[in-house]
Amino acid sequence: MKYIIKKIITLIIALLLISIITFVAFSVIPGDAALAKLGTSATPERLAELRHEMGLDEPVLVRYGQWLVNALHGDFGYSLQYTDSTVNKLIGMKLPYTLILSLLSFVMIIAASFPLGIFSAKKQGSAAGTVIKVTSQVGMSVPAFFLGMILTLVLGIGLKLFAVGLCPDIKTDFAGTVYYLIFPAIAIAIPKIAMTSRFLRNSILSEMNKNYVRTAYSKGNSDNEVLYKHVLKNALIPVITFLGIIIADIIAGSIIVEMVFNVPGLGRMIVTGITNRDYNVVQAGVVIVAAIVIIVNFLVDILYKVVDKRVQA
C-alpha cells in the first residue's frame, strides 16, 4: 500500500513537471496561436485583438495557473485552432486510435520477439543465428517513419492491401480501423522486435553461464528442459523492465508513424497542435501521453514484483 501511495505521488510530481516544461517551451519558441491563425493577414491591431480573445496577453504564470486549476477539474479548455471544440472532445475522438495502434504493436512485439530471441539464443554461433543477428541489427537501425513509407509504397500503393491514408472511422467501422492500424503497427513494431529479441537473446546467454545451469544439466535435464524450466524464468526478468521502456517508445513512435499513415490519433493531434501553436491541445496531449507512460511503467513495476519475489517494496 505504502508502495502504491509513493508511486502515485511520483506520478503527480512527474505530470506537474511535464506540464510546466511544455508551458515554458511554448513561451520560449517564437510565434503564438494568434500569429499562426492570422498568417499573412496579420496586422498589429488584429493580432492584439485575437491575443486578447485567446487570453494570450496574460502573463505566463497567470495562464499556467488558470490552466492548472481547470485541468485539475478535468477541463482542458478550448482548442485555439478549432475554435468550436473543446480539447476534451478532441482527445475523446483521437485517443482510441492511438491506444489500439499501441496495443497492436505491443502484441506484435511480444508475439514475434520472444520466439525469435529464444531461437537465436539456442542457435547462437550457427548460420541461422548469424542471419537473425544481422537482420535484427538492420531492423533496429531503420527508423519507423521510413519503414512506414516503404510499407505504404509496397503494401498500400503496390499490393493495395489497404487504402493509403484513409483510416476508417472507429465509430462506424471498428474492424476496418483495426485492420488499417495493423500496417502502422508493423512499422512501429519491426525495430522494437529487433531490439527486444536481441535483448532476450543476450539475457538468456548470460544466464546460461551461471552455476545453477550447470547444476541443472548435471541433474540430467535436456537442453530444452534447462532453457524453459530454469533459464527463461530468470532471463525474462530484465526483459520485463525493458518492455516497460519499449512501451514509452511505442507511444513516442506512434506520433511520427501516425503522420505517415494519416491516423487520426493523439500523436498527429500533438504535431498539428505544435504547428498551430495550439498549446491547450498540445499541453493536454502531452500530459495524457505522459500519464499513460508513467502508469504503464507503474504496472510493469508491480508485475516485476510478482515475477521476482526478491524485489522489495
Binding site: G39, Y179, T275
Partner: protein, 510 residues
C-alpha cells in the same frame, strides 16, 4: 503436468492465430470497399494540407478555410474565376452617386440548404454580423454604417465613406439564416452549391449536393475535404487514388506522378518577393536595391523552381489580377551583373555590405529560390547569408517588422481581397504593415489618387504605381508562383480562381 502446459500453450497460439486470420478476413472487404468508394463517379476526396479553423464564415481568418467554405456559403455577390464578382444571392445591385450606398435586389426563390427561403432580414442580419467581425482598422468594412431593408426583396448597405473597392469585400460577407445565428459554426447552413454533412476536427469535412441550390447543380454529389498534415503522405494518397484532388504540388512531384493522376497548371495569387529593409543604410539607397534586382536572374529561378511556369512580375500586383497587372513593369530589370556592379560602385558600396535573408522552411520554392539569390548576390560583392527558419518565427518578422538582424525576407504576399489596393497599400509609408519600412513620397501620392479613382483612370494609375515601385526597386519582385493541382486521372473541370478558392462544383468525371 508438462503435457498439460504444452496443450494450453498450443491452444492459446491457435486462438490467437484464428483471431488474427478472422480479423484480416472480416475487414479486408472493409478496406477494399473504402478503396472503391474513393473512385466512385459521384464523389471526390480533396486533400488539404491547410486546416479548417471554423465553420463560421464570418470569423474566417485563413485562406484554406475560406477556400473550402466557398462551396457552402455565398454572399450577395461571389468571386468569379476571372477575378471579378458576379451576382449570387442578389440578382442585381446599384451604387449611389456618392458611392456610399449599395442597393441590392435579392434573387427570387433563393433557399438555404435547410429549405427555408432567404429573406431580407437574413441578409440584413448577415451583413451586420459580418461587419461586427470585420470592424478592425484596415478592414474594408471598417467604414460600414448600416444595413437597411427597403422593400420585400431589397437591402441597402450604407457606408460612411466611398470606396471603389467595396464590391470584393461585400462578396466575402456570406449570407446565413438569422434563425441559426451564432450557432452557424455547428449548424452551417448556407446558399452554396454544397451542404454540410459532417465534420471531424483536423480530419475531414463531408459535403453533399445542396438540392435547394438556385444555380446549376454540381455533377459531383459527394465531396470530402481530408485534412492532411504531411505533404509526403498526401502525395502518396494522390498516387494511390485515395484522394482525388491535391493542390500545391511541387514541380518535382509533378514530374514523378504515376498514371493514376495528372496535374493542372495555374497561378497562385501571390506576389513572391524578397522584401528589403529600408531602415538598413545600404538598402535605403535606391541604387543598391536596383543593383540587387539586376543581379537576380528571375528566369533561371523560374526554370529551376517551377519549370518556367511561374509568372514574371516586376511589381507588387500578381499576374492573376489581369486587369491591373503591369506587364511593362515586369521587364524593368534584366539579368546584368556588370550593371549591378556599376550601380553598387556608384552607391559607394563597391566593396559590398553584409545582408541576412530570412527564409521560411515552408517548401522548396522558398528554399531553392533563396539559395540561388544568395549565390547571385555574392557575385556582386554582397556578403550575404540566409537563415532557414520555422514559419512562426518568420511570421513574427513581418508582423513586427524587419530588424537589425534580418535585413531581407523572402515572402509570398497574398490577399483574399482582390482589390488592387490590398496588394499595393503595404508599400505606402503610413501603412501599419509596412514591415520593410519602405517610403516613397511619389508612390504615396499616386496610391492615394489610384485608390480614389475608378474605371480606366484607376487602371492607368495602378499601372503608374507599379512602374514607380519597380523603377525604385521597392522590393526585389520575383514572380507569381505556379500552382500545380494534382487530379485523379479522369477527373476534369478544375477551375482556377485568382483568390485561393477550391470550387468543387465545376468538377466532373470523364
Amino acid at each position: 503436468m508438462k503435457k498439460f502446459k504444452a496443450i494450453i500453450a498450443m491452444a492459446l497460439c491457435l486462438i490467437f492465430a484464428t483471431a488474427l486470420v478472422a480479423c484480416d478476413g472480416g475487414t479486408q472487404n472493409g478496406g477494399s470497399g473504402n478503396n472503391s468508394s474513393g473512385n466512385q463517379s459521384d464523389s471526390v476526396v480533396f486533400g488539404s494540407t491547410l486546416g479548417l479553423e471554423s465553420l463560421d464564415p464570418h470569423t474566417v481568418q485563413q485562406a484554406g478555410t475560406r477556400a473550402i467554405l466557398f462551396n457552402v456559403f455565398e454572399g450577395l455577390l461571389k468571386q468569379s474565376s476571372d477575378g471579378g464578382v458576379v451576382e449570387a444571392v442578389a440578382k442585381s445591385y446599384e451604387i449611389s452617386e456618392d458611392g456610399t450606398t449599395y442597393t441590392f435586389v435579392l434573387r427570387d426563390g433563393v433557399k438555404f440548404s435547410d429549405g427555408s427561403e432567404v429573406t431580407a432580414e437574413d441578409v440584413k442580419y448577415s451583413i451586420e454580423r459580418y461587419a461586427a467581425n470585420h470592424s478592425g482598422e484596415g478592414d474594408a468594412f471598417s467604414i460600414f454604417k448600416e444595413a437597411k431593408i427597403t422593400g420585400d426583396n431589397t437591402v441597402e448597405i450604407v457606408f460612411n465613406a466611398s470606396d471603389n473597392e467595396l464590391l470584393s469585400a461585400i462578396s466575402l460577407a456570406s449570407i446565413i439564416p438569422q434563425s441559426v445565428g451564432d450557432s452557424i459554426s455547428t449548424n452551417p447552413v448556407g446558399t452554396g452549391p454544397y451542404k454540410y454533412v459532417s465534420y471531424a476536427e483536423g480530419e475531414s469535412l463531408k459535403l453533399e449536393v445542396n438540392e435547394n441550390y438556385w444555380g446549376d447543380a454540381p455533377k459531383i454529389a459527394n465531396v470530402e475535404f481530408k485534412f492532411l498534415d504531411d505533404p509526403a503522405t498526401a502525395y502518396q494518397m494522390l498516387q494511390a487514388g485515395t484522394i482525388n484532388v491535391l493542390p500545391y504540388l511541387s514541380a518535382d512531384q509533378v514530374a514523378t506522378l504515376s498514371d493514376a493522376a495528372y496535374a493542372e497548371t495555374g497561378y497562385m495569387t501571390y506576389s513572391f518577393q524578397m522584401f528589403l529593409d529600408s531602415n538598413y543604410a545600404p538598402l535605403s539607397n535606391a541604387k543598391v536595391r536596383q543593383a540587387i534586382c539586376y543581379a537576380i536572374d528571375k528566369d533561371s529561378i523560374n526554370q529551376i523552381t517551377s519549370n518556367g511556369k511561374a509568372g514574371n512580375i516586376g511589381a507588387n500586383i500578381p499576374v492573376t489580377m489581369e486587369e491591373y497587372f503591369s506587364a511593362d513593369a515586369a521587364n524593368t530589370y534584366t539579368y546584368d551583373v556588370e550593371k549591378a556592379k556599376a550601380l553598387m560602385a556608384e552607391a559607394g558600396y563597391a566593396d559590398g555590405f553584409s545582408l541576412k535573408i530570412a527564409v521560411p522552411n515552408v517548401n522548396t520554392l522558398y528554399t531553392n529560390s533563396a539559395e540561388i539569390i544568395v549565390e547571385e548576390l555574392k557575385a556582386i560583392g554582397i556578403d550575404v547569408s540566409m537563415e532557414l527558419m520555422e514559419t512562426e518565427k518568420w511570421y513574427a518578422l513581418y508582423c513586427d517588422g524587419l530588424n537589425d538582424e534580418y535585413q531581407a525576407i523572402i515572402l509570398a504576399w497574398d490577399n483574399a481581397n482582390l482589390a488592387p489596393n490590398a496588394w499595393t497599400s503595404i508599400f505606402t509609408s503610413t501603412a501599419a504593415n509596412n514591415f520593410m519600412h519602405y517610403s516613397n513620397a511619389q508612390y504615396d501620392e499616386t496610391f492615394a489618387k489610384a485608390k480614389a479613382a475608378s474605371g480606366e483612370e484607376k487602371v492607368k494609375l495602378y499601372n503608374e504605381l507599379q512602374k514607380i515601385v519597380a523603377e525604385d526597386a521597392g522590393s526585389a519582385f520575383l514572380f507569381t508562383p505556379a500552382d500545380y493541382v494534382g487530379l485523379s486521372t479522369g477527373l476534369k473541370g478544375y477551375t482556377y480562381y485568382p483568390a485561393t478558392i477550391w470550387d468543387m462544383s465545376t468538377l466532373y468525371y470523364e
